[in-house]
């Protein structure tokens, strides 16, 4: 006999609200709650569509809701509900039944449906949590409903926003072309000369895009790693004055949009660049446009990724116990031998890791190749032009993106293995209080000879990039001006009040708003994931961890293409909306939240939450009252980083923007492509200032209080 419990579990209320009260679809022209029972079928709730408009495919879900109300703790009705929602979403598309056998079964359908909206989302979540709750009651997840719900939510979101788009992208590769079968189309696209040609080995013509990309990534990664290593050694192993200033370099890639370096290089070495003009005026040399092509992109990428490699390698160099080299010197080794036979081998896995990080960064970089590449195409730019170009070759874009995905995943797998091997460094448990040894003199001299000029050059490139905002036309008319700022950020007073008449205000406002909405979601999801992975033990935990890691490895360009392919049509019709941008931000930046959460979590003793649990607190209460307050610094960090990265990203977003939701970086890229450097640079300057402010805010909020047990004042 069914027993009605009161109050009903809140997931049931959520599912009921979604089915009965809220508009089921995502309305194309705004929505109003008053219309949920109205004449316009597409704006009404599921119940209304089923009862008033003859859309019978909603009845199974409504029936499942009734069953759930009768047995709110049972598993079967909840699973039925999920299945019913899924089935109706997939069964009816924009052109009626989405499969021939459905049409055969039910007859032709003179109806269609739009993408899922608020009601559909609420119902799905409600049924999901009813399912996980029922599973928890059966003893899964150690009977913890909060954990079960969290895992369910994460799994659903990863499926929807990573697994599905990526699979959709892979499927698109084989989309049949006119006159070809699926296999033939796939083969034709994969064996494309433009992708795989090796012609450049024997004659002076361009190679395939894949080889271009791999060569560029390998070169940039090697350059950036070498430079990063020099910087890391100088900062940690010498008494070099200004070491702290060098450390500031590590912040640069965080706060700068990815193409700023490219702009700076153009202003130095471009046709109207300072160096070119000086060379011509002083020596009559014609340097030409060498900066556009492989050399320029390579240079820009080394500039851009050296700080990243530096950041990774500082940790590597500092992670080597000073006792190791002290032991070597005690064993009669010279400083040089101690460095080459002990320190360097111990750093190798870390160096390999830094190289792979830089490799992937270069592989997925879009900003620098698009600004400096010229006719030198790499995967990311080719994908972009395939999508936005005249032909709209989605099949070709899918193939290129899939190739990029495979390379990125390969690099990622390699990196995981390399990092796993690193564990042998931490073999020695307790550290001796040794002094970090000084570099051998030849190594120190070499590092300084390489790193210091480079640091100077980096400063110059950045200075150029900023200075360009303040002259009329770089290279031709050096009159100082604020005109570019005025064009971008003009404010006018009129009868109606303040008017944001500058061209950049719209995109800046959208960017800040969306990044501001995405940041808390990213931080919350990241911390939830970190907590589940670090503190909870459940079946499928490794699977969830693996899925999350894979999400991190999907390049932005791939994600962008996959999203437009997937979310163009119902059941999730998000293209052109803010939701797709938000989803992109959240899933691209989730690693930041997860990592800072994991790092902070590992500082807090597990016995803390166990203590709270034995005091009869539920695990949600433990998370809220014990873990979260202790994680405040991690939360602030995740928030600000998620915000900053959302503002400065370009690779994925460029596919997803629309006239209504334009992002700052895309606005700038378009100005650069049009050769309108002044406004682009002025805008960059404003963005950098904003980001410096944001990062400064973290330092202010988090820098002071280091939480954790080790914070005790040394005796």
């Amino acid at each position: 006999m069914p027993r009605l419990s009161w109050p009903p579990p809140w997931p049931l209320l959520l599912a009921a609200a979604g089915l009965l009260l809220l508009p089921w679809h995502y309305p194309q022209d705004g929505f109003a709650l008053v219309s949920v029972w109205g004449e316009d079928a597409d704006a009404t709730s599921a119940l209304a569509q089923a009862a008033r408009h003859g859309r019978f495919w909603f009845w199974p879900a409504l029936a499942a809701l009734a069953l759930c109300a009768a047995w709110p703790r049972a598993l079967a009705p909840a699973v039925l509900g999920l299945a019913a929602v899924l089935a109706q979403a997939l069964a009816v598309g924009v052109q009626g039944w989405s499969a021939p056998w459905l049409e055969a079964l039910f007859g032709a359908l003179d109806d269609r449906q739009f993408g899922i909206g608020l009601g559909g989302a609420c119902t799905t979540l409600g049924f999901l949590w009813l399912t996980t709750g029922a599973l928890a009651r059966r003893g899964a997840f150690r009977g913890d409903r909060f954990v079960a719900g969290g895992v369910g939510l994460l799994a659903l979101l990863i499926l929807l926003f990573t697994a599905w788009p990526v699979l959709r992208l892979l499927a698109e590769m084989a989309a049949p072309r006119e006159g070809f079968t699926a296999w033939a189309s796939l083969a034709e696209r994969l064996l494309d000369r433009k992708l795989l040609s090796l012609a450049c080995v024997v004659q002076p013509v361009g190679c395939g895009v894949l080889w271009n990309t791999l060569l560029l990534a390998a070169c940039s990664a090697t350059g950036a790693t070498l430079l990063g290593l020099c910087f890391a050694l100088l900062v940690t192993r010498t008494g070099l004055p200004g070491r702290r200033a060098l450390r500031m370099l590590t912040v640069l890639p965080l706060i700068t949009p990815p193409f700023v370096i490219g702009l700076g290089l153009i202003l130095l070495f471009g046709r109207a660049g300072l160096v070119n003009q000086a060379a011509e005026a002083l020596f009559g040399w014609e340097l030409g446009r060498w900066i556009y092509g492989f050399d320029g992109v390579f240079l820009a990428q080394v500039f851009a990724f050296t700080p990243t490699a530096f950041l990774v390698l500082i940790g590597v160099v500092e992670g080597i116990s000073p006792a190791m080299e002290e032991a070597a010197t005690m064993l009669r080794a010279t400083r040089m031998r101690a460095f080459t036979s002990v320190a360097l081998p111990l750093m190798l896995p870390g160096i390999a890791n830094a190289w792979l990080v830089a490799f992937v960064e270069s592989l997925t970089d879009f900003g620098n190749p698009v600004v400096l590449g010229g006719s030198f195409g790499v995967l990311s730019t080719e994908i972009f032009f395939a999508v936005v170009g005249a032909q709209q070759e989605f099949g070709r874009a899918a193939v290129l993106a899939s190739v990029m995905l495979v390379v990125a995943l390969g690099a990622f797998a390699l990196q995981r293995r390399v990092v796993a091997r690193r564990s042998y460094v931490s073999l020695t448990g307790k550290g001796d209080a040794g002094l970090p040894p000084q570099l051998p003199a030849p190594v120190r001299r070499a590092a300084m000879a390489v790193a210091l000029p480079w640091a100077g050059l980096t400063v110059i490139v950045y200075a150029m990039a900023l200075a360009g905002a303040f002259v009329k036309v770089w290279g031709r008319d050096w009159t100082p001006t604020l005109e570019h700022f005025r064009r971008a950020f003009a404010l006018e007073w009129s009868a109606g009040g303040l008017i944001f008449s500058g061209g950049a205000w719209h995109s800046l406002g959208t960017t800040l708003l969306l990044a501001g909405i995405a940041a808390p979601i990213t931080a919350a999801m990241g911390l939830l994931a970190a907590w589940l992975l670090a503190r909870q033990d459940f079946r499928g935990r490794t699977l969830l961890e693996f899925a999350l890691m894979l999400t991190f490895a999907v390049p932005g360009t791939v994600m962008g293409v996959a999203y437009i392919l997937t979310f163009n049509l119902p059941p999730l019709e998000l293209t052109g909306t803010a939701v797709i941008l938000l989803a992109c931000f959240v899933f691209r930046n989730l690693p930041v939240g997860v990592r800072s959460g994991l790092a902070a979590m590992s500082q807090l003793d597990r016995s803390l939450d166990e203590a709270a649990l034995t005091l009869r607190a539920s695990s949600f209460r433990v998370l809220r009252t014990v873990v979260l307050p202790l994680l405040k610094p991690a939360i602030v960090t995740a928030l600000v980083y998620a915000f900053v990265r959302a503002v400065t990203t370009v690779s994925a977003v460029i596919f997803l923007v629309s006239a209504e939701y334009e992002m700052a970086t895309v606005f700038i890229i378009n100005r650069v492509i049009n050769g309108d450097y002044g406004v682009a640079i002025a805008y960059c300057a404003v963005l950098i200032l904003l980001m410096v402010g944001a990062v400064g805010l973290i330092q202010l909020l988090v820098g002071q209080r280091r939480l954790g047990r080790r914070a005790a004042v040394p005796a």
Partner: protein, 352 residues
């Protein structure tokens, strides 16, 4: 100074204005094991690192076998060191770890391997050469570290708290092994620890350090039975410190009064008046003339511990075999076995 294996003359160390080590003298005789003992921050590790050459003394001279090595780098001194963390090279196998020092000093690789193999046999690890350090247990890693230091046949072997990463039982057997090895091979060893029992068990001489200066040096028995200060007495085992009154001194023997109790003890330079008296817990006997109340009674199996409230402050008493039980709160008298009590010489306590 006479020809010790190691001689320190006025060696001190400052870091800027901070004085880590006051100038001190120390001699280590060949074939002996000398322990530097003290609480954390007392300067014992600094002293060891000065001798090793990992840091340079800011004053004084360090002589190794009569040769001045004060300004020599670590690799140029004929000393070896076993690190607290062992500092085994994780990317080299055991044999290459042990042979590392020989190869560095120019021995042919093949010969270095042979000698390393032999030394591994000495520490009981023959046949382990091909393994990586991470494949060994803590105790085995410790032995590899010792072998790596031994293979260079140094004039002086340094140990920096080598047992602190091992569990209690292993620590006991390893310290006996180190002592046996040292005596069998006639090694000269300078050994740092903060564990008093470990120091007593393995040392020929112990140097107790406090605040960067030597508090007292001597054999383990001297330090325990004739501590120079309340600090040393407390550091060398359980001790009760009380203020007592010296009534009279005759022929080096002092007549000491503690409340109603009268003791005759070696004067150790004390004149009539107030003096510090150190009483070992096992020297307190219950049922004596001086009044006391039991505030806590603990049965420990082999003995019983009592905390007594007395006119001289709380005292800890240990009675062998448990004795007849006294409940907390019961009033008992006590007296003192003179064999377990010692006067602290006045002139030694100039510090604080």
């Amino acid at each position: 100074m006479s020809g010790g294996a190691l001689t320190l003359e006025g060696v001190g160390k400052r870091y800027g204005v901070v004085r880590a080590l006051k100038p001190l003298d120390l001699v280590v005789q060949p074939g002996t094991l000398v322990t530097l003992l003290g609480p954390s921050g007392c300067g014992k590790t600094t002293l060891l690192r000065l001798v090793a050459g990992l840091e340079t003394a800011t004053e004084g001279r360090i002589l190794l076998g009569g040769q001045d090595v004060t300004q020599l780098a670590a690799g140029e001194r004929n000393v070896s060191m076993v690190f607290q963390s062992y500092a085994l090279f994780p990317h080299l196998n055991v044999l290459d770890n042990v042979a590392y020092g020989l190869v560095s000093s120019g021995v042919k690789r093949a010969e270095a391997r042979l000698r390393a193999e032999a030394t591994l046999g000495t520490v009981g690890l023959a046949g382990y050469g091909a393994r990586l350090p991470s494949e060994l247990s803590g105790g085995q890693q410790q032995r590899v570290a010792v072998a790596r230091a031994l293979v260079l046949e140094p004039e002086l072997l340094l140990f920096d708290e080598p047992l602190s990463n091992l569990d209690t039982r292993l620590r006991r057997s390893m310290r006996e092994e180190i002592r046996a090895l040292q005596q069998r091979l006639g090694l000269t060893v300078l050994y740092v620890t903060h564990d008093q029992a470990e120091a007593m068990a393995i040392s020929d001489r112990i140097v107790v350090l406090r605040d960067g200066a030597i508090a007292q040096a001597g054999t383990p028995r001297e330090l325990y039975e004739q501590p120079a200060s309340v600090f040393v007495a407390g550091f060398m085992g359980e001790a009760n410190a009380v203020r007592a009154r010296v009534l009279a001194v005759a022929a080096g023997q002092a007549e000491v009064a503690l409340g109603a109790l009268r003791l005759t003890l070696p004067a150790r330079g004390c004149g009539p008046g107030e003096a510090d008296l150190v009483v070992r817990p096992e020297a307190i006997r219950l049922g004596g003339a001086e009044p006391a109340t039991v505030t806590r009674a603990t049965y420990m199996g082999s003995h019983a511990e009592y905390v007594l409230a007395t006119a001289h402050g709380p005292l800890l008493a240990m009675l062998p075999g448990g004795g007849e039980p006294h409940a907390a709160g019961s009033a008992v008298g006590f007296d003192i076995d003179p064999a377990g009590a010692v006067l602290i010489g006045q002139e030694k306590e100039e510090e604080r």
